[in-house]
């Protein structure tokens, strides 16, 4: 499946709207792990990031299939930056493309939608938790051996990522529900 089709199906499964670009990236990251969709992911400074998916979001906007709304939350006093969130909304044209896609590729669409249901059941609604889970998974995968939560936190620090004990537990539970890790 093409990244733009995956993005449109993600929007469809979420009822036509996803709040936050990070949530799109992280949800697609786990969907990619579950279904081996072939999305290229780079372990970026801010955690795993897919340039292909980012380009697909831009493409869907340019084609009028998705509308982007920017929500401002005022200035962050620490950094001096305005805190913003990008919301993506499926347009009627986007819905028409999705309907056509479901007719042309019923099997692939069903597979992606089932994967998204599995993610949702594991608790994927919060982008911060998903982000921690993605980083945790990356560390566990790279270590090639079982790790204790403290070890994961230390390893994350080495990589410049701050992860708390509580969020690790939440992340490991999420990963275990998806069958990506086992808890001993």
């Amino acid at each position: 499946m093409k990244p733009s089709e995956i993005f449109l199906l993600m929007l469809s499964a979420a009822g036509g709207k996803i709040s936050s670009k990070t949530l799109v990236q992280k949800r697609a990251y786990f969907l990619n792990l579950l279904l081996e969709l072939g999305l290229f992911y780079k372990p970026h400074y801010y955690g795993p990031y897919s340039p292909d998916l980012d380009a697909a979001i831009g493409q869907c906007k340019a084609l009028g299939l998705v509308e982007q709304k920017t929500i401002g939350f005022g200035m962050d006093r620490g950094t001096g930056f305005e805190v913003r969130r990008f919301d993506f909304v499926l347009t009627p044209d986007g819905q028409a493309v999705l309907d056509d896609l479901k007719k042309r590729k019923p099997f692939e669409c069903r597979k992606v939608l089932e994967g998204l249901t599995k993610l949702s059941a594991a608790g994927d609604s919060d982008y911060v938790s998903l982000s921690v889970a993605a980083k945790t998974f990356h560390i566990l995968k790279e270590s090639k051996r079982p790790l204790y939560p403290d070890e994961i936190i230390n390893e994350a620090k080495q990589l410049g990522w701050e992860i708390s004990q509580e969020s690790i537990e939440h992340a490991v539970n999420f990963l275990a529900k998806l069958g990506l890790v086992t808890k001993n």
Binding site: A55, Q59, K61, Q68, D100, Q158, L159
Partner: protein, 459 residues
Amino acid sequence: MSIKGVAWTREIRDPIHGFIYRTSLEQEIIDTPLFQRLRKIKQLAMASLVYPGAVHTRFEHSLGVMHLAGKLAERLNLDDENRRLVRLAALLHDIGHGPFSHVSEAIVDRFYNREKVSLPGNNEKIHELITYGLIERDLSLSKLLSEREREKIVGLLKGNWGDRLLKDIVSGPLDADKQDYLLRDSYFCGVKYGIYDSDRLIDTLEVLKDRDEHVLAVSVDGVHTLEQFVLAKYYMTTQVYRHKIRLITDAMITRAIELGIVKDNLDYLSRLYSFDGTEEFFNNWLAWNDEVLTTTICTDSTPEGYCKKIFRRLAERNLFKQIFSMRIGDLKNPVVRQRISEEFDSFKEEIERKVGESLEIEPHLVISNKFTIQSVREQSRNSVGSILVLRNGGPVTFEEESLLFRSIDEAEKDEFLEIYAPVVFKDPKDKKIRRREYNEKIQEIIENVVNRQPEGGKK
């Protein structure tokens, strides 16, 4: 220019950077037939048909990239050995270019021998394998550089040897390649779009530790210079690299060679573009450049055919005309819009055939071309992400740091579909009327072709 411990030979005068200094080893590499061949490969193919001054070549560009890579290496305090390798990689980065530079890339990508060459991973392209292959095998180069050195240079260009910082210098959103070609192409085209403050940009470069590697970044003081650099790239794309006539000439060269291989059965073209990784291929590749290819095609020994006909038109500047141009986002039907955007290659031939039949033009001479102009924001990124700016010791993305780019973050990339054909317009009024007719007919053809093909262009 003085770098401690480096023995320079004589300087070369360059219109962009002033004096370019080189070591005796670099001079010997420049003197090889392999490198001298770049003097006959124009940087911008036939852009001189629009911008008469654009006759500069890959030769001087490669010298410029080496010079800038050296300046970047010095600024970032690379050790002597890494500095030497980065300069050599920059000098050799375009060594595999074929006739008409980037135009040859698309043709090699289409005609390479799929039985002998497997598609490389990590976003590598087939034509890049020619560069790597030449660096590894060329006899003149192997007399000057050891096998290990050549392996390191290829690894550095691929990004799988050395620190990421080295790769960032030769290939990345701030690389020496872009820093040179923007200024050089601007100068030779006689436009001012590609100009930015090169010295200031280099002066504000910093090294950022990203996990277990080092990344090229910019200090917060360099943000405005960086804005200028990114805008220069955007303007050069819209005004020069995607200029209407330039797109037509590139498309004509590509189509001429494709038809020369497929329809005219010109054996020398098949051999030139069927990359198979053999010694024979590399030796033959080096014998060709812009001039040799044009002369060979137009000579009496090449039989009359599509290829010769198109190249004669190019030589006489009797160019195809743009008969259709549309932003893909403006196509009425959203499904057609999305599928043309995603699956254009599978519809291309059918669209050209139908347009040819409808307008009574030889279908092989109808060329459809889909291209993208990335948003100005996207120009600051590459495939691995954004340029990072160091602010209070920590990294933020350039788009977040730049007030200018933050305010235009809604901008999106634009995709266009154009069709070129050998038509003649009597006068501007005739052009206007016929373009309107073509526009309606072609939109209908596109819609029909897409709707008739349920999946991936296969009926």
